[in-house]
Symmetry: C2
Subunit: 374 residues, 2 copies
């Protein structure tokens, strides 16, 4: 039943699932610059969006969410780009995979580690490719920063410090409850986590977080701000970051090494060029990277993997690695305790799956209360 | 016996105690610009320094540490500027106070809260003035930042983020054990703590810290790096900072409010001008403050208090407030647990003194080991 993309096709045909902000401003326009990719179908529950965007991008195949299976089975699509609310990523990924359709999924990959692992497993079982849409993995400024840090230009990297804040207005789905993947950690904190994991080329071993709330009704279901410290192994590198939906726009990271430091500001944007400032031995060099489409290179890379059979990167495991840290930070913020993370690599899969089968840790403040009723 | 400064004097006569780096590059030269202050005596155990600096600044009254009482009783000095290693601040402050000599003491005021409280008490009992040499309290760029934040220019301040790092070489007294006030928290982290306390105009209620060590032999007696998160009361403001003796020079803080953000970089220097960048509603204004002597204004302010009878600011209580946070951060870094701080103000003195009389909390990892031998 699963229908594999044919390697004799020269373009991979995509359905974009979910037509919210990111789809409209970034994903749909990117197909014009992705020569090996073509936009073939749109999926949304909003008939107006389907009509308007269908006309704009000349896409005749339009489906509601109820018609998702029809879309997957239409023979018109080889891959889906999932731009749905975070808690729907797993379901729509696994349904696509079971229909033999490849999946390029927005970050965060999913809300829980269990969800991420299941998505990875279902994609493997159905022999479809799964990639997480980390656009900065295709952005020159960010890649140069990683090269520079890992190449030793700053000496031994000792510290990462990042701030990613913005004002999110009432009614935005990013203010959804945590169980639906709402809150600043899932939406923007993930950029800080992904940045430092890739800059250090390592996984954190211990984390601690404080969350805060300014009392605004916008933050009844999710936290306003989270600040975190992450400890990395080896020569004990530290990383701190803060993310907030209740403060003015800031998007910045800094890496300080034994010989110099690097500042990226803006660091995480796609609507403007990124700026890099490198100071080594007291000499500063600034470089502005022109604004570039960060979404077309994702499509090109994923389509190339589908056409050639190569493994996509960032893979589902990269998605899981960040979600694992986000969940540890929430456990820390809830419990008031630092959280130790087990060593992590895709080779650890059996122990990771075993770990996830353990019952969740109860919050410490509940430990000494009376036994819950049966 | 105590000899009070005469209010009919027009200049306060100082002995500078300790002739290390800060005394040589900053304190001694500042007297030339402090019209109500005069350098009258030098105290050091290094005869060469005494000779060389005595000649340079035309100071004939020169004393070893063993002759400190002679200096205090000489009738030549009204005040001391204490620029000694941190663990000697208390002893040299209290001896001066008991001799009726006023004290301007380098930061940190002392190594422990107990030391700070005792110094405050002894100064009061002997009716001498005690001030902590927080030079940035007299620096225009920093004062403008505080005005701007407290005046609401950034809206409601939500986040403070700061990095203060430098490379400290082997043999530097700042690498002393913590018990002697060594380590980056006492020396440079204190600037971050003092900055955010004054920018927010509040005291932290909960803190957490991770310390790290790169394994270099320089860091056998104190930590290399500490990163910290501080929670402030009210509308739950967060602050994060990192300080390190094992990384390249960075001196920066940022305050992000609901309407905009302010960056100071360099933020904590005295050897160069400070830069301020304020972005409100998307519009950025940069301002460079020319390098100014930050030490002469301290002398002028303290001398003015001595001459007029006014209370000096920053007072001993300001010094205690920072040391209290540093000690809580060390407790957190040692125990791996966040630490809650009691509400703090100088009116709380009886409860604070009571609190300090309690036996120190043992590290959690010791709790379940066998009882210590008698």
């Amino acid at each position: 039943m699963p229908r594999k993309a044919k390697s004799n096709q020269d373009k991979v045909r995509y359905a974009v699932i979910g037509l919210g902000h990111i789809a409209q401003v970034a994903v749909l326009p990117a197909f014009a610059h992705a020569e090996n990719s073509t936009l073939s179908a749109l999926v949304s529950d909003d008939p107006e969006k389907l009509e308007k965007l269908g006309r704009k991008y000349r896409v005749k195949a339009r489906y509601s969410y109820a018609e998702y299976e029809d879309c997957l089975g239409s023979g018109l699509v080889d891959a889906v780009y999932i731009a749905l609310p975070n808690h729907l990523h797993r379901e729509y990924t696994e349904r696509a995979a079971r229909a033999g359709v490849h999946v390029l999924c927005e970050k965060p990959l999913a809300v829980t580690e269990e969800d991420c692992l299941s998505m990875i497993r279902v994609a493997e079982e159905n022999q479809v490719k799964l990639m997480v849409a980390y656009r900065l993995h295709f952005e020159e400024a960010n890649l140069k920063a990683i090269d520079l840090v890992q190449g030793g230009r700053l000496g031994d990297p000792r510290l990462f410090d990042s701030v990613f804040t913005m004002t999110v207005k009432k009614g935005d789905i990013r203010l959804n409850p945590r169980e639906q993947g709402g809150g600043p950690l899932y939406d923007i904190g993930i950029y800080c986590i992904n940045a430092v994991r890739n800059l250090y080329g390592a996984e954190p071993m211990e984390v601690v977080a404080f969350s805060a709330n300014n009392g605004d009704p916008r933050f009844l279901q999710c936290e306003e701000t989270t600040s975190a410290i992450l400890r990395f192994p080896g020569r004990e590198r530290l990383a701190v970051f803060s993310c907030s939906f209740g403060a003015a726009d800031v998007s910045s990271y800094r890496v300080v090494g034994t010989k110099g430091d690097l500042v990226m500001e803006p660091a995480y944007e796609y609507a403007e060029g990124l700026k890099q400032r490198v100071t080594v031995d007291g000499r500063t060099r600034e470089r502005t990277f022109p604004k570039r489409d960060q979404f077309a290179p994702e499509l090109i890379s994923f389509s190339d993997c589908i056409l050639t059979g190569n493994a996509p990167e960032p893979s589902g495991w990269e998605g899981l690695a960040d979600v694992r840290v986000i969940r540890a930070l929430y456990r820390s913020a809830d419990s008031g305790q630092p959280v130790t993370l087990e060593p992590f690599s895709r080779e650890d899969r059996p122990s990771l799956e075993q770990e996830l089968r353990r019952p969740p840790v109860r919050k410490p403040e509940l430990v000494n209360t009376e036994a819950p009723s049966e």
